[in-house]
Symmetry: C2
Subunit: 344 residues, 2 copies
Amino acid sequence: MSVRRTNSQRVRIDDVAREAGVSTATVSRVINGTGTVSASTKERVNQAISHLKFVAHGSARGLAGTKTHTIGLVLPGLTTFFFTALIQGINDCIYNRDYSLLMYSVYTPASMTSGKPLPLGEHNTDGLIVFTDFLDDYSIQYMYDQNLPIVMLHRSPPDGLNIPKIMFENEKGAFDIVNYLIQSGKKRIVYLKGPEGNEDSRQRELGYRRALAANNIAIDNELIGRGNFASGRAREEIQDMLARNVQFDAIFAGNDDAAVGVYEVLRKHNLRIPEDVAIVGFDDDYMSQYISPPLTTVKAPVHKSGYEAARILLDLIDGKSTVDEIKLNTELVIRESTEGVIHV
Amino acid sequence: MSVRRTNSQRVRIDDVAREAGVSTATVSRVINGTGTVSASTKERVNQAISHLKFVAHGSARGLAGTKTHTIGLVLPGLTTFFFTALIQGINDCIYNRDYSLLMYSVYTPASMTSGKPLPLGEHNTDGLIVFTDFLDDYSIQYMYDQNLPIVMLHRSPPDGLNIPKIMFENEKGAFDIVNYLIQSGKKRIVYLKGPEGNEDSRQRELGYRRALAANNIAIDNELIGRGNFASGRAREEIQDMLARNVQFDAIFAGNDDAAVGVYEVLRKHNLRIPEDVAIVGFDDDYMSQYISPPLTTVKAPVHKSGYEAARILLDLIDGKSTVDEIKLNTELVIRESTEGVIHV
DNA sequence: GCGATTACAGTAAGCGTTTACAGTAACCGC
DNA sequence: GCGGTTACTGTAAACGCTTACTGTAATCGC
């Protein structure tokens, strides 16, 4: 007795095969470019495919074959323009490579061990780009153990796992911009951290510390504020410092979005930028050139980081060997939120 | 002879079934919440699932069942912050609803009829949110005919198709802001269109025309410029008008991103905003409050449009009846890129 | 010109689920 | 206490592809 549920009008591979007068195996070979098929047969099959508007059933391919032609991107909620550039970079890479992008937003710390496991892993994608601190090491280890190709974006893999990672030159970028602030006469420079445990932030802080040390300025912990790379939190933190009467003449906001929050508080307190307080960010977000005053920042190749992550992931999927780590160049961009000697 | 290719360590549904001492059918019922399963059995199965860290194979589910638990978003390349808010809105809706988001960037006009059909349709997703003019009516009709649930975002469906659409109150928003410009004394107001055939743009133009008519100002076609809702193109267009010596005292840039381009040209030509030329946009992009001068614009609920699109699509997938169209409220936001009488 | 190789194409098993259908035991009404 | 439900569970056939293996005709080496 048949269990067929639908009288689906779906065009299947055997319809194509029949029309082209070949077997389904041959059609499959043509579609995937595997095996050998004579030119004339290939031609006939392609004709049949476009005539019937055949599109392979993704799930069936995924089940039968080994690939889903999908890569996953795990990220926290989308907030700034940063993500736009990132996703666009990934897209630019996988476009025309027969891959689609599946997004997994992870809003809160999650783990394979928690109640509802993420539908991640080899189950649904051929590989994963992980860009969030909300996914714990255990989960990554677990998927790694399943032989799922993974690339880490702006975050290190758990110890001992051979997973490539893409980073910005955070430390150098931070060093450069803080050093530039110092060269231009600033002495009491605030650093606003990113989210707890964030690696970009940690590296930027290292650069900040190194720049101060290089200029014989002692670290004042009062000047190191908490933050989360977002404007709201930055606003509160600077507001706090002001209330506590902390003295500073410059602020390295951690990233551009936080810098925007800093702008707001300072304006509210009638502090001039850069005369009273110089401000710098990190990323060179799209809007940074347009805000007032235009923000001095470190240009980070966000689009490229997405593109490279995808490229490496695809290599991994194809079984090619890849590098362990890519550090993407940053570049100091001086605008009007700072002033003074330009140190080259 | 076995054709098994992998000695996969994958945990399958039969592993769970064995551990729980039930059949695979029962496990499936527990997972999907279908059929009836006694409380004690359900408990045992869930124990086995979490003990074995079982996650169903997405493709297998997609093949055997009728749902892929994935919705697709068809959009042009990601450019502005607009997309971030949009995608976030969609995510916020499908999060916890057991759906994932598959992105299809369509960079150039595409169609099912073209050489390489998009891997869209019921083949890979349970439904589609279409937000791009790059997908022609034929393709939409085709997918519609396959009974694929579809929601149109910022664009009308092809004639005669019963497809819900989500729009902003473009005409009203445009009317309000252009009317406000006129009330504040402006007489020669430029309108910069969006991309060719773009519906948001068409409706905004209607609002623009209606506002002029309501104030007895004749349309001057010289003041209606081409554009594509992006800063670069806006820059060129205004540059051109300036070169042709077109006279104007205000610019409705079509959207905020274009407004940013306008800012740049005007600044280059030493024209003051708003004294020489008032500027307004549409959307209320994240950066619009931070650029200088802060941009007067129409606040459009971008996040909400994504959320609503997803919500309606999910209803459609569940077979619920839905509304034909949702028009999302807009709101005039007056900042410093305009001045003068505030018309209430 | 003959055995070995190659190029091409077909057969059919299997991928891991879902679900129609078929039980079976407990329960119901009268 | 008996036929009819009801509540639950199992069996096994799809779902639409990919691909290992097999077969055959054409081609090659010598």
